[in-house]
Amino acid sequence: MNSGGNPILTLAWTFGLMSLFAVGGANSAIPEMHRVAVDVQHWLSDKQFADVFAISQMSPGPNVLIVTLIGYSVAGVAGALVATVSMCVPTAVLAYGVSRLLTRSSQSRWPAIIQAALVPLSIGLMGASGLILAQTSDRTWTAALVTAVAAILAATTRLNPFWLLLGGGCAGFAGLIG
């Protein structure tokens, strides 16, 4: 790591700031995580980033725990803890404050307007997440095929996502991904 300074502090301000810009949830911030962790700080390779995403999707708990994995790879258990807390606390404090405010004057029309304004932005961010992850994961045409089949099955059936991830894992184990 050649970013200079304490990696724990870098984790704290990186994810603390990202927390406030993750419009639509943790998956919207994946492009920013990739930009910082792979391109800027060189904490992870492309392949490791794709692996970390895969592990976070297979694990129980909220999607935000992908930052736990990134934090661990930077600075072990302390890094995992700091990254997770930094990603959660700023927005949690904000949510607490706003929820207190809104129960006092609940007739405001602003929440509805802001929500309507943010919906297209958060979908655009999630789409960018999909694009960047596809570029890191789908390096062969069979890999792209697995992604396409999973996308179509998930969009058109009510199949439990677990089976799709398992299917992907089996295809990978069988050496189909390359």
Partner: protein, 200 residues
């Protein structure tokens, strides 16, 4: 809503909220739904809060979630803090948050340690490659589902904003804060302007 509104005549069973949960109950309930929540905790949160414990009605839950969804950051984390603090103040918010994030964080940290140790093992590399391909597909399907209402409404401005953010972040790889500091005010201004105008 006024404190004692209509269903006064209806007897107890309809009353949505049983006894307000204590700190330990909050921690345990959120830990349970989080550990069960494979591929998204929201479904399990709704089931536990509305159906199992009856701490909120479905409407209250939807309102709380809508609030947490328009705020930035992990939605379900916001929900845990807002929900817990509604019953037990800041301590309640902390208890629910610790339950939601703590136990799965331990699991993920163990997985991270295993990955650091065995990530280069050939079979594991292949399996993870396959899983990430499928996981990307799941994400793309979610994006597609979220886009459908905009397409059905022929919300052209929304779709243009969506595409602009997609290109700025996904293709040009611009930093997220810079993009949003432009996109959010712009989108709010457009939304306001559209609402002022009589429906076309």
């Amino acid at each position: 809503m006024p404190p004692d509104s209509p269903p006064a005549a209806v007897p107890a069973p309809v009353s949505p909220t049983s006894t307000p949960p204590g700190l330990i109950a909050l921690f345990l309930a959120f830990a349970k739904m989080s550990l069960a929540g494979f591929g998204g905790v929201l479904v399990f949160a709704r089931r536990a809060i509305v159906e199992q414990h009856r701490w909120m009605t479905a409407e209250e839950f939807n309102e709380t979630f809508a609030l947490c969804h328009f705020l930035p950051g992990p939605n379900i984390v916001n929900l845990s803090v807002v929900f817990g603090s509604r019953f037990r103040g800041i301590a309640g918010g902390l208890a629910a948050f610790a339950g939601l994030v703590g136990p799965p964080m331990v699991v993920v940290t163990v997985l991270a340690a295993l990955y650091a140790r065995f990530g280069e093992v050939e079979a594991l590399r292949r399996i993870l490659s396959g899983v990430s391909c499928a996981a990307v597909g799941l994400l793309i399907a979610v994006v597609f589902r979220m886009m459908m209402p905009l397409i059905r409404k022929r919300d052209l401005i929304g779709l243009v904003l969506l595409a602009a953010v997609f290109i700025a972040i996904g293709v040009l790889r611009l930093p997220l804060p810079a993009v949003l500091l432009v996109a959010i005010p712009l989108s709010i201004a457009i939304t306001l302007a559209m609402r002022r105008r009589p429906a076309a």
